[in-house]
Symmetry: C2
Subunit: 248 residues, 2 copies
Amino acid sequence: MPGRTQKKLVDSAPQRILADFKVGVDNVIFSVDTDQNRLLVLLVMRHEEPCIGQWSLPGTLVRQGESLEDAAYRVLSEKIRVENLYLEQLYTFGGPDRDPREASTSYGVRYLSVSHFALVRYVEAELIADGVSGIAWYPMHQVPKLAFDHNQILEYGYRRLRNKLEYSPVAFEVLPELFTLNDLYQLYTTVLGDNFSDYSNFRSRLLKLGFLQDTGVKVSRGAGRPATLYRFDANAFAPFKDKPLVFI
Amino acid sequence: MPGRTQKKLVDSAPQRILADFKVGVDNVIFSVDTDQNRLLVLLVMRHEEPCIGQWSLPGTLVRQGESLEDAAYRVLSEKIRVENLYLEQLYTFGGPDRDPREASTSYGVRYLSVSHFALVRYVEAELIADGVSGIAWYPMHQVPKLAFDHNQILEYGYRRLRNKLEYSPVAFEVLPELFTLNDLYQLYTTVLGDNFSDYSNFRSRLLKLGFLQDTGVKVSRGAGRPATLYRFDANAFAPFKDKPLVFI
């Protein structure tokens, strides 16, 4: 990631042979179980070498004629059925020795991973278990040691998710169309932790932004007072789309 | 480039042969000429095929044993001498047909570009012209048609630069250690355009953030009143480092 000082490059034994690569895409697919306040990440168990039997991010190698983005969508569509999703490129991990197949005694090529970040709605995402040894929505805080450098990729994706909640309306991609302010607060708390803001500051901040449309409908849940249902107003948000903005 | 709807994948004629890649890094290197209020990007003229004689972003192909970041620093150190710089990975461009060498009648491998974004101080960056047909700081608004998809990569880098000015203290990497509020405003205006904010709002916003340390020293420039010199106070900024924040 970012560095501030120019590195001194030691070029005493120049190694000028170009590296050959296979290119993979690995997807960090998040969803939020809003009923249980759990942040979940999709993992699959590898059923071939290397790292057979280990949990990993769902990924694939890019085929001839295929774009990076198409490969990312292909992985997704092989693992889950979902109507709405948000997908973007995350970061490219490509240092030497990140994949055991790179050993010169093996195939002699390097494996680069163009990771992608996706967010889907938990309630509408159906897992597809065909042909894998295992597939699971893992709670973020119970993720085991993953294959390759996938824990590092996941950590990077988790940081992106928090940034996106802070700076963009991505939360409304995973909430139901109608939601209470408490639903929204729970979602933020689930991802950002309890201390990111207290409820009343969060509430007044969000209402002041002017993108939440009061539907006039109230719902009762449990013992509390009936709560107003809101809808994200994409038209009201449009003029702010390219402006710098903080949501919390 | 985010998408919201799952693509329908047509798999009628599956092409399952894995692609082979060479991996390049291409650097979008910006600097701001604060005397002339010009945003500049470093271009080099290609001296070999493909695209010989065209201007392009400085780039190279990744060598055996070399990390992506090391390759990016290598390109930079071959083109400019500079003490301080900011460098980070930008985006990976890897669609089929982005490089004429990919034609199946040619080498039969694909070329992927892991682009990087860098910002250097204009006054201290010395260009190195050894072994290139041309090298130049091009004003952003006079950039010609570049080789490959480099105009698209540059556009992506430009968007990142604007975002970084809005959300991070990156401006202080390219300003001299002591600067006036007008210097800072000119830098923002040069990159973001005249209408991003009026001077008095910008001034009060920046002072309120509390990261600018008044040095007590004043300078006279031209006919105006003497202006106070400020310094960016990294210690005062530290507690805000991981908080969401808008600078303008």
